[in-house]
Structure formats: C-alpha cells, structure tokens
C-alpha cells in the first residue's frame, strides 16, 4: 500500500463534519415551501386534521426533507464561494485537499441511501454529522479515474436520538483528459542554405541542388560544391523514382506526431543523390534493400509538406499517406 493510500485510509472512521444543528427548527413554513415546489399533494404535511386522519398527532415533514433542515443556507454558501472556511468542517477540507493532491479534483454524487428512523415534526431540532465509511481503491469509470468516497451522515434530534441515517457516495475523479490537440512534427531547422529545398517541398517539388559550374548534384543542401568548390548553384527537379539504399526501424523514442515504429530510409534517387526520408505504405518486414520506391507527398500539417517514399510495383495500392 502506497503512502498516499495510507493517508487516505487514515480518514476512514474519521468525522468530516462535526455535529451541528440546523439554523431553524422543523417548521411549517419551510415544509410548505418544499411541498409546493415538489408539487407533493400529501395533506399530512400541511394539515393537522389530515395528519390526524392518518393516525399521526399532527403534521409531519416529508421524510427526504431531513437533509434540508441541516443545509447551510444562502449566506454560508456564499461565504464558501468567497473561499471562507466552513466552521466544524476541517476534516472535510483536509480530505478534499488530500484528494486534490491525488489529482481527484472533480466530484459527482453517485448514491444516496436514506433510512428514516422516525418522522420529524415541527419543533424538532435536527443536527447532522458526517463520518467517512470507506474510500475505494482507484477505479476506472466512464467519467475518469477516481475513488468512491462513502460517508455516513447521521441526523439526530435535540435529545441526540438518531432520526435518520444517510449513506452518501461520491466519486472523486480525475476528469478524463480532453482530446489533446494533434502534435506537430518537429520543424526543420531552416537557414539560407537549405530554405529553398523546403520551400520547393511545400509546393510538392522534390529538387536537387546542382553546381552551376561543374553540374554535380548534391544533397543535403550546402553553400559550396564538394567537387569544385563553387558557390554558384541552381536546382533540378527529381523524377521521384528511387531505390531503398538503407533503412532503420526506430521504435524509441516515441513522438506523438509519428506512428511508431518509424521507417527511416536512405533513398537513392534516380538522379544519384541520397535522401533521408520516411517510408509509407509498407511495413518493416516487407522492406528489401534495393527495392524500387516512388515519391509521395506527406502533408504533415498546414506548415509542413515533406517528400516520403513508397514501394512501387504491382502491389502499389498501398494506403496514401495521411496526416501523419
């Protein structure tokens, strides 16, 4: 059991909210307000005569209204919203803090089980306290990963006699992460020597740098000709045909913009230069050194279009490159 679990476990049996009496005794006005809003026609809630006709000494409050007698009310709710602490509820605040620490920042009530020991009547003073019954291990739910916190609220009258018990279960959970925005491929490091190549790629043109003096083709782009040293250059457009010169299958590290494993190929273009690129429409086990490849274009995102290669041949109806 982890240290965090132990700290949560220490709350079991602990009082979260100290016994506190509701602001007002059970009274006819609040009962009327409740039964009118609930559109509850039961006359035993409003008329002593009707209640006596049912064998009771006088009116009774609706059973499930028991919780309402101890609600904190408007002023205290506003005070809590302003961040003021609720008196007598330090245990509750501590537990919520510990759950927050575990990432369980959201809450939803899942179960209420109210048992009523006797009917309450006008004049009754009702108190409630709340004790932790259990905190579950972490569970995976439709809402997210969380823990069920079960508490028991005991409602007592002025003499301390229990009039009702409410077992209350909430799920404290980590909200499931919203769909992450799609990761982008790393940007190429552009400079004055290589920008032309990526700009051409954006227009879906695969170009090869050519020495303006000795006509030697070169890749990757560079300022000077490795053959004659000339700084003058232009480009030619590649045919798009090539062969697989070498490759590596990378499983790690994973990057969210790529589908692992990555097929990283050194493709020899028909023009003779070699290009490091990705392969598409093929899996690692079907790769063969020397296999013929053809150019395709990967529109990785709005700002990035890159050449990739796919096998040619009779079975070339491979999937077209997608967003990845």
């Amino acid at each position: 059991m982890s240290n965090y679990d132990e700290r949560l476990d220490a709350f079991v049996g602990r009082q979260l909210i100290e016994a506190k009496f509701g602001q007002d005794a059970v009274n006819q006005a609040m009962i009327r307000h409740w039964v009118e809003a609930m559109e509850d026609p039961n006359p035993a809630y409003l008329s002593d005569d009707a209640a006596r006709a049912t064998g009771r000494p006088g009116v009774v409050a609706p059973a499930s209204m028991l919780q309402a007698w101890t609600m904190r009310g408007y002023a205290a709710t506003q005070a809590l919203a302003r961040g003021e602490s609720a008196p007598g509820a330090s245990g509750f605040a501590e537990l919520v803090g510990l759950l927050d620490e575990g990432g369980y920042t959201s809450v939803v009530a899942t179960d209420s089980d109210f048992e009523f020991h006797r009917e309450v009547v006008p004049g009754d003073r009702i108190s409630v306290d709340e004790v932790v019954e259990s905190i579950s291990a972490e569970k995976t739910t439709g809402l997210g990963t969380g823990r069920f916190v079960t508490t028991v609220r005991t409602y007592r009258d002025a003499e301390g006699e229990t009039v009702g018990v409410q077992t209350w279960r909430t799920l404290r959970f980590r909200p499931a992460a919203p769909e992450a925005p799609k990761a982008l491929r790393p940007r190429p490091a552009l400079n004055r020597d290589n920008a032309f190549w990526f700009e051409a790629a954006r227009e879906k043109r695969l170009v090869v740098q050519r020495c303006a003096d000795c006509s030697t083709l070169r890749h990757p782009p560079g300022p000077g000709c490795p053959e004659c040293g000339s700084f003058d250059w232009d480009t030619v457009e590649a045919s798009g045909a090539g062969t697989l010169y070498s490759y590596v299958v990378a499983h790690h590290p994973k990057h969210p913009a790529f589908d692992a494993p990555y097929l990283i190929a050194l493709v020899e273009l028909a023009e003779g230069t070699r290009l490091i690129t990705n392969l598409t429409g093929v899996t690692a086990e079907d790769l063969e050194i020397g296999m013929p490849l053809a150019l395709e274009w990967l529109e990785a995102d709005d700002g990035l279009t890159l050449p990739v290669f796919a096998p040619t041949g009779p079975d070339t109806d491979h999937p077209r490159p997608t967003e990845n």
Binding site: M30, H33, W34, E36, A37, M38, E39, D40, P41, N42, P43, A44, A50, A51, A53, T54, G55, P62, A63, S64, M65, Q67, A68, M71, R72, G73, Y74, T77, Q78, A81, V108, A109, T110, D111, S112, D113, F114, E115, F116, E119
Partner: protein
C-alpha cells in the same frame, strides 16, 4: 390497500422546467450555483443548470407516497444517480412493488429522462 409483489405504479411524467429546478433547489436550501445560474453551470462544464439531489429524493418519495397514500410512513429512499435532469427534459417515473413484508412495502423505482436513467433504486414505506 392490498399490495402484492409485481404491482405496478402508474407512471408519472414530470416536466423538468427551469422554474422547477430552481424552485426545488431553493426549497431544499441548496444554493449551489449549478442549480440556478446557467452561466456559472456552463462555466463548470455542465450544459445548463440541473436538478439537485435533494429534489431527486423528494420526487422519488412523492411518487411512492402518492401511490401509497398519506398514511404511509417512509422508511427508506435509496437511489443511484445517473443522467442529470436538465430544463426542457421530462423525467418519467415508473415503479413496481418488489417486496412485501408485513406492513412494509418496497417499491423499485426508476426516473428516466431523454439522456437515460436519472435515478433508480428503492423506496420502503410502512402502510
């Protein structure tokens, strides 16, 4: 009143109006903003204000006592909470006697709205 297991209660359709959600929240002294302030409810990730749990309990109790009669004493209201009751929806409550033990009757209840089951569980009354 003669009651047997399997007896069905007449279904009751409760229109979930905005007024009902707010009036019942305030009548139960529940001033959480998600039960009366649509803007704040949306800010907290809800599509609108929604009915509070005290009202789910109250309406479940009402559904059964309206059938059982004013002399019935409510012993237990146990519900599992599900789809929220948003304004504009209708919750239809259905129920069936699931246990009879002397004068104690257990009714299985369900409140369903357009999104699914809002609340389901049991109500035990002494007749």
């Amino acid at each position: 009143m003669t009651v047997a297991v399997g007896d069905r209660l007449d279904p009751v359709a409760i229109p979930i109006t905005r007024t009902l959600v707010v009036a019942t929240a305030l009548a139960s002294r529940d001033y959480q903003d998600v039960h009366h302030d649509p803007d704040l409810a949306r800010e907290r990730g809800s599509k609108d204000i929604f009915m509070n749990i005290l009202t789910s309990n109250g309406l479940t109790e009402r559904f059964v006592t309206a059938w059982a009669g004013p002399a019935a004493v409510v012993k237990r209201v146990k519900i599992r909470l599900g789809a929220p009751n948003y304004p504009g929806d209708t919750m239809t409550m259905t129920g069936e006697v699931s246990r009879v033990d002397g004068d104690e009757v257990e009714v299985s209840v369900k409140g369903e709205n357009a999104l699914g089951i809002h609340a389901s569980g049991i109500v035990v009354v002494a007749l």
